[in-house]
């Protein structure tokens, strides 16, 4: 008995409170993951930062220094790409809003909801390359979109959205919205499934109509899911659009659909300038990180 008391006392010595000990244990548990993160993410990022100060053709690198950065910002292609990224952000509200509407409708078990659910989820299971090809056929001069327009009687109206600098980015944005619908709809449906149905009943008895219930009960409940979807959508927009661009436009016409991501690829693999590509990569990383951090802050402040 006395032995046990003694050891307990020792362990609970004043140098380590219970809270400290828990934190320490937590730290130990995260060590393996931390090692992986440092090994596979930290080191490459460090390398990229280093290469961003060099001129590197893929084989030999030569240290140049901070002037690479000042030069890069004089490159108009970088600004075009940044602008394209910014413009594409305009598609995010649609990539969230449409799935939200769909999810709310499906959740109300509208007739045929199971079929619709499968249809909306389908794009998620299809490679973005295939989706890009389908979209390319859809927007093409002799494609589906024009057939539909002609079908409705406007036989002299023709579109070629991918063919013009002014509209290609919009077509890309629309395609992006469609590719995101499945995932975001599923995410929102999951969120709705965790909503206690008696809350809605209570609100109905309190006199709330559909719209009021949506605004005061459903939306606040979904806010975390919407925030998550927002982060995922923006990250996808910044870092997963490559396959769509590659298949649909190749970044053109001109630089009309070249995003940061695509610019990195072009700079590196088409122009063989891996140093600058690494530099662009860091810019993109920082931008994405800013979105993520701002968002995490917002989520955090919720509590």
């Amino acid at each position: 008995m006395s032995v046990i008391t003694a050891t307990t006392k020792q362990n609970a010595g004043p140098w380590m409170t219970l809270r400290r000990r828990r934190q320490f244990a937590g730290f130990l548990f995260t060590l393996p993951a931390l090692a992986l993160v440092i090994g596979f993410i930290g080191i490459p990022i460090g390398q990229a930062i280093y290469y961003s100060f060099t001129s590197w053709n893929g084989l030999t690198s030569q240290w140049i220094g901070p002037s690479t950065w000042s030069q890069a910002f004089h490159n108009s292609n970088l600004w075009t790409a940044l602008q394209n990224n910014a413009l594409l952000l305009l598609s995010v509200p649609f990539a969230l809003g449409l799935p939200l509407c769909i999810a709310v409708l499906l959740h109300q078990r509208v007739a045929g909801w199971k079929v619709f659910r499968s249809i909306y989820f389908m794009p998620t299971a299809i490679s973005w390359v295939v989706l890009g090809l389908v979209a390319e056929r859809f927007f093409a001069y002799q494609g589906t979109l024009n057939s539909i327009i002609h079908f409705f009687g406007f036989s002299h109206t023709n579109t070629n959205m991918l063919g013009y600098e002014s509209t290609a980015l919009s077509a890309l944005g629309i395609t992006f919205v469609f590719t995101m619908i499945g995932t975001n709809t599923m995410l929102f449906l999951t969120g709705l499934a965790t909503l206690d149905p008696t809350l809605e009943e209570a609100a109905r008895i309190d006199g709330a109509g559909r719209w009021r219930i949506f605004r005061s009960i459903t939306l606040p409940h979904l806010s975390r899911f919407i925030q998550l979807a927002f982060v995922m959508t923006v990250i996808a927009l910044f870092s997963a659009l490559f396959s769509l661009i590659f298949v649909m436009t190749g970044g053109g016409p001109g630089y009309a659909t070249t995003t940061m991501e695509f610019l990195i690829y072009q700079t590196g693999f088409n122009q063989g300038d891996f140093g600058t590509a690494a530099l662009y990569g860091i810019i993109l990383f920082v931008l994405t990180a800013i979105v993520g951090i701002v968002q995490l802050r917002l989520i955090g402040s919720d509590e």
């Binding site: 206690d196 008895i205 309190d206 709330a208």
Partner: protein, 381 residues
């Protein structure tokens, strides 16, 4: 405040689940009506039909003289307290309570005033800024009540509002709810499966079973004059002893045979009960407190043995088995197992397992039920 009338209300789920079957019942203005019954008997369904959350399959339901079968919940002007409280998690207590008023379009000052008033009644003033998550179970329960009372509705509907609370809090809130209901005088339908809640809170109690209304009465009448075997067994704790036996009313005496032990009950039972004349099987019901221990064998006593003894502090429950019934001279299968009785005794009664006791059934308080359908054989109230 209004009268609520169920008239032949039936609810069928799917094709054949009769959750509520032909319910007819009137709840007066300001009355506290309790729906009680075992799990799955249709209490919640009846309440949800009243709230407008469930369609009515057939029959009509009216509140304050208006048929509400097809009226949306928000136009029924009833308030409901849910079993899980259903508080809006992202709203403060204040906004939870004021939500209905805000929707109704009351002014800010008015909402504030009414919420404060309700909070005072419910002792919630210190918690108005908190979210439901930061409240204890009892406090959440009060908020749910607050949400109902600020609206000053025509009726309160409560579905087992106390079942998530611990025993002590339950007793407290039981009194609290009853107090508030009296204070506001709003017709209330209160669902519970706890017969103690039913007995203590209700002006009247409606006992349901498998969708059917069994009896509606004041708690005391329900206790003293159960309409059938089910109600008799359901109300009261410990439940009434229900014993199959043979009764014959003739030659100025009512003889009740338990195997070959026989007791006689006063003749006046025949004027209030339809008792068989020729030893037909009936079910006799005796509450545990009406099983009396007497000093020795006499003509009206049953010889029993103590099988079990439960001391509850203020009283002792004694489980007795009737001797001799196994060797019953009748060839009836029902009586070939020992008949047992529970008796409630004073805390200082000296009994121990194995004792042979002679008991009498309190002559004025026996109940008789039909052995086949369980209906009371009482003919006069």
């Amino acid at each position: 405040m209004a009268e609520i009338i169920f008239d032949g209300v039936t609810k069928i789920f799917g094709d054949d689940i009769r959750a509520v079957d032909d319910l007819s019942l009137a709840i007066a203005e300001g009355e506290f009506m309790v729906f009680v019954g075992p799990s799955g008997c249709g209490k919640t369904t009846a309440l949800r039909m009243l709230a407008g959350l469930e369609d009515i399959t057939s029959g009509s339901l009216s509140i304050g003289g208006r048929i509400v079968n097809n009226v949306l919940p928000k136009h029924r002007d009833v308030a409901m307290v849910f079993q899980n409280y259903a508080l809006y998690p992202h709203m403060s207590v204040e906004r939870n309570i004021g939500f209905a008023l805000k929707i109704r379009g009351d002014s800010k000052d008015e909402i504030k005033r009414k919420v404060d008033e309700a909070a005072t009644i419910l002792h919630l003033n210190d918690f108005l800024d908190r979210r439901p998550k930061a409240l204890s179970g009892g406090q959440r329960q009060r908020v749910a009540m607050g949400r109902a009372i600020v609206r000053n509705p025509q009726a309160f509907l409560m579905d087992e509002p106390l079942s998530n609370l611990d025993a002590k809090l339950r007793v407290e809130m039981r009194l609290e709810i009853a107090r508030i209901q009296r204070l506001l005088g709003v017709a209330t339908v209160y669902v519970t499966h706890d017969q103690v809640e039913a007995m203590t809170m209700g002006d009247r109690v409606a006992v349901m079973r498998e969708g059917k209304l069994q009896q509606v009465d004041t708690p005391q009448d329900l206790y003293d004059r159960p309409a059938n075997e089910f109600v008799a067994g359901f109300m009261g704790s410990p439940p009434m002893n229900l014993i199959r036996c043979h009764a014959s009313a003739g030659n100025d005496r009512v003889a009740v045979h338990f195997g070959h032990q026989v007791i006689e009950l006063p003749w006046n039972y025949t004027s209030s009960h339809a008792l068989p004349e020729s030893g037909l099987e009936v079910v006799v019901g005796v509450r545990p407190e009406d099983v009396l221990i007497v000093d020795g064998a006499s003509t009206n006593t049953l010889e029993t043995r103590v099988e079990r003894r439960e001391a509850l502090g203020a009283e002792i429950l004694v489980h007795l088995s009737l001797l001799d019934t196994t060797t019953s001279s009748t060839s009836d299968g029902e009586l070939s197992r020992p008949v047992s009785l529970v008796a409630k005794m004073g805390p200082r009664t000296k009994v121990s397992v194995g004792d042979i006791l002679y008991v009498q059934l309190s002559p004025e308080h026996a109940h008789f039920f039909d052995a086949t359908n369980g209906d009371s054989l009482r003919t006069r109230p």
